[in-house]
Symmetry: C2
Amino acid sequence: MDGPVRQRSLWQHNLALVLGHVGTATPTSRAEIAATTGLTRATVSSLVEDLLRADLVAEVEPAPRTGAGRPATGLVLCPNGPTGLGLEINVDYLSAAVVDLTGAVRHHVVHRVDQRDRAPEQVLADVARMAAEAVGGVDLTVAAARLAVPGLVNGNGLVRVAPNLGWRDVDVRGPLTAAPHWPDLPVSVDNEANLGALGELAVAPASPSFLYVSGEVGIGAGVVLDGALFRGAHGWSGEIGHVTVAPDGLVCRCGARGCLEQYAGQEAITRAAGIGRDPALSADVAVATIVELASASDPGVLDALRGAGTALGIAAAGVVNVLDVDTVVLGGTFAALADWLGSHVERELRKRVLTAEWSPIGVRASALGASATVVGAAGSVLRDLRAAPASWVSVHR
Amino acid sequence: MDGPVRQRSLWQHNLALVLGHVGTATPTSRAEIAATTGLTRATVSSLVEDLLRADLVAEVEPAPRTGAGRPATGLVLCPNGPTGLGLEINVDYLSAAVVDLTGAVRHHVVHRVDQRDRAPEQVLADVARMAAEAVGGVDLTVAAARLAVPGLVNGNGLVRVAPNLGWRDVDVRGPLTAAPHWPDLPVSVDNEANLGALGELAVAPASPSFLYVSGEVGIGAGVVLDGALFRGAHGWSGEIGHVTVAPDGLVCRCGARGCLEQYAGQEAITRAAGIGRDPALSADVAVATIVELASASDPGVLDALRGAGTALGIAAAGVVNVLDVDTVVLGGTFAALADWLGSHVERELRKRVLTAEWSPIGVRASALGASATVVGAAGSVLRDLRAAPASWVSVHR
């Protein structure tokens, strides 16, 4: 509330307020919304009409009568309203998902394909084809798309650097929307860990402030503070993979020494486990192999996971000391390895976080597991729409 | 703007809006405020009357006429309006300051006294006496006091732990307000680095998001994100002194190994410089000695500062990688040593921050130097008052 309050902004504000209430207390009723928000019944009714016509809200059968009087008509987020399309480029897979306003996943596809020996245009043409399939595969309106990339992304869709893809200053939005199959949709581009964190926030927020760590070939993080993703001065927050855990340690792809990625990244784990880096061994197979061997208590693999978990715990402890977040969520492939990594991360947090004795730090696997990023990307489209529904309503009512 | 907009909250909101405008564009006029905020002239005039009567705003002579028409009366923050009282307990000194609405320091006293062999009650009795002297020494209304402590502080004025004072679970607010000399004032308690960061934010904000690192015997930080101090889930953010810079390194007072404090704290520097820890050598004398020897290019002292600056840079790089803040401010005794520490911190940031090549990270000494904390504490009282002036205005108009 930075400016003076005028008529149009009041409508926008109150529209979001009513939709927000339907989203958190569902099913609700016009009377309940009026009571909770302090708006008049007439105002609520008019706003609800706008939301119904725009398919953001739907009416459902009233709940069984419990007291006197006519039972109120229930209001819920519309399951057949606008949806969000999430797209993900990662080192060794591509993925697409469609999520509706209720958070339900209506479409989800993963293609295993290694991007490291392919040109960005090839990759983006595949992504465009997957987007078209997704849009065609659901009988719903797709409001917009959001693409997740494992790297530093500028606001205008330029990927500054994605070290593990080998991309530098690659315009992603231009070639994607120009690709033959691309459906006519607005698209924005964001960092994969940021979108994973937003997915977690939407589905199972452990706390208003948490650190979401996404393990893939690289390691990224989403920093959620007071219920919102913190992006930093340039939108480049979350580079936990390059936090120093051994000042004179191994040289990283970024040029620095002792980065976390060199101790807890997927390749560091397979290397330490003695599985080696077989180019024919795709990452999902490598992770499945590690899980299998760890389940059988293979000492080499347990050792490798101890090393990775310890390094991850040292880096996470630094973040917790500085930010006082109370939960660390393990995402990406770390989610599949959480049974083994978790205890080492917890031990380091206990030892190294000054305040741990008063308030222990929770460590848990991402609720969405490996699909957190693409589902988070799809959901974040709707999160934005729900936070500011006015322009959607203006066009669609 | 989380709730519906009603009449009383509109007045509160617009009052803060007008006062905020006077604070940022000074001197201004009623007409300028109306033009900038979009409020009507009549509304602005009525709000300005409220602020004038409460001594938050004052009228000044109009600026010389430059065009046609009567020149407008200038409006400024009132230099004789309410003031804030800042108080600081640190390991080897106590301090008090009074700041007025314009940011001018109207009173500032530092007592050199080591707290380590004194009971909290003795220390707090001294602080109460200094508060009484400060209130008596300025011919202005003091709105409230804020006390800075180098430790973890709970919202209710309980110091959970201040490791370098040797305090644990010490109620600070109770004994302070019960002390014989305490002036009748509301008082709140906060962490010293947080208040130093707020001081920096008020006086010379390098950027909306920065890391303020305060070096004393311990090392704390204030994390400023998007123009506001980030306090964390429990108010315990900023414990950068316990970020690991050497996983198997020296044992810290907190029990962990390799904490930054053990490599860049005041005692670590004097020890490495071979000055030793002479109990008769107070910290200000030790810092003065280090500055003198470093200025004379003493190799041992330069080496000690290189070690401290490198460790500080490693820890700061981790924070910048995760938060994407673009400036590191060196406060407390680090401000006096910034000429020597700065280049080492910069080198580590350049090496270790993934995005440094696109956007270099600024490193500079605190504009307020050693008084940042106590001046920041005083100023933060007024910052709160200016952000929400309605209750002050209701009582004092």
